[in-house]
Amino acid sequence: MAVVAIEMARTRKNEQFISVALATATCTLLGSGLPTPVDAQEEPSWNINTAAFYYGEDGGRVQDFSIKAIAERMFVDDRVLTLGLAIDALTGATPSGAIRLDVPQTLTQPSGNATKTVPAGEYPLDDTFRDIRVALTVNWQQPFGDTNLFNVGASLSKEYDYLHVGLNAKVARNFNKRNTTLSAGIAIARDQIDPEGGIPTPFSSMLDVGDLSNRLGTDSKDILDVVVGVSQVVSRNLVVQANYSYSYSDGYLNDPYRILSIGDSVSGDTIPRTPPPGVEGPSHEYIFESRPVERTKHSFYTQAKYYMNGKVLDASYRYMTDDWNIDSHTVNLRYRWPLGASKFLEPHLRLYSQNEAEFYRLSLVDGAALPAHASTDYRLGNFDAITLGAKYGWKTRSDNDMSIRVEWYQQSGSVPANLIIGNQAGRNNYPDLNALIVQFSYRFSR
């Protein structure tokens, strides 16, 4: 009101408005006449990070539309409550595990109540993959003493055929003028798997439609993770971190939908079969995969962040080895490049390489004794991957952060020569994967 009157008094050169403006201003002045004690500004108490995100593989394979939010409620004295929510909508096809053939193949769907025929020369994909996943996390951070920080959290996630429940705790202690932080954490989880039609018995054959005699119902696995780490401030511009993590899984570690082809020992082609008359069923011999019931992983992770006159280099390397004989190397490089005071561009390069698990097979051989374990899962195979992309971020007028990230992820693998038999050599046996990642993020406080 006062402002409007001032504007009018100015622009119209009509001085009558001065007394109106003055009356309003006086009202404001006397309205809260008596002094009140100084009250300084409150800090915003919630920090909210949100992201909408798309992950899409080409060739009609997996698409994931996802939204994710992490809300931090800041309490005084560094106590923080963190709540996380993620919702994923997954669709698309995943490799079933069967090899390509020069003839059409008919496979029973994972549910066991229908079949699907794959044209000659094509990769048998399982396209019944469709799921909504909802994940919740909660975490409480609490300092104790002047140099220690304690964290405790829980996680829950549910999808159609899967339930995960986890608990975790972590302590950190500062030394050396807070330049050194040692931390140790432990997490336990129990995951319950309940696929449609029930879990198939490992190494049982793919059966005709309606025959669920090889199904076991549900199963579960337990996971124990332990992480110990140290982070160290090296200089005003450099901080480094090193972690060792141990992870032990015990229980049902198979992919219940993944199969192997039973191939001829000479040609390598899958052995054909004929379902009984009047019954729909597989056109060839396939069996469900079988993995060990335990897995122990060790990871060594190092990260360095280096500040160079406004630019930040974030480099990390991870080495992982496990008792399935998989070794992997991961290098992550991010370079944050400020563009003026409120924008930045951050190119990202990730390089990944792993060798195959000791029980990785392209197919099994008809008539030969079954190995102890076997899986055709490409994720247990021998492959390299590269991620290349960039993030562009800016501050909104209300001082919130927005960013857009676009990245390409490409996997290219190969099957070791000793696993290839006969005609398999002439076909591309590894399902290459190309994916696009697009993420939009918004971060605000209130």
Binding site: F53, A69, K177, V227, S231, A242, R318, A435
Partner: protein, 72 residues
């Protein structure tokens, strides 16, 4: 077992050099910046952990990463 021993030795080695490293408390202006935090963008990190957990044989390392889904 062997790898555990090596890693423990590396950690100890890293730590023995700690006392001489670091900055004074008033020299943390750069280190206090958001972009210099080791986990500067937790949402992006969680998304990446989730993607790579479901597409590769390795997961985690930085913290308790990935996991919690039937995608692997």
């Amino acid at each position: 077992m062997k790898s555990t021993t090596i890693i423990t030795a590396t950690l100890l080695l890293t730590c023995s050099g700690c006392a001489s490293l670091g900055v004074e408390p008033w020299e943390r202006d750069v280190l206090a910046k958001d972009e210099m935090q080791l986990n500067a963008d937790p949402v992006e990190a969680a998304i990446d952990d989730h993607i790579y957990f479901s597409k590769e044989a390795s997961s985690g390392g930085r913290g308790f990463g990935g996991g919690g889904c039937g995608c692997n």
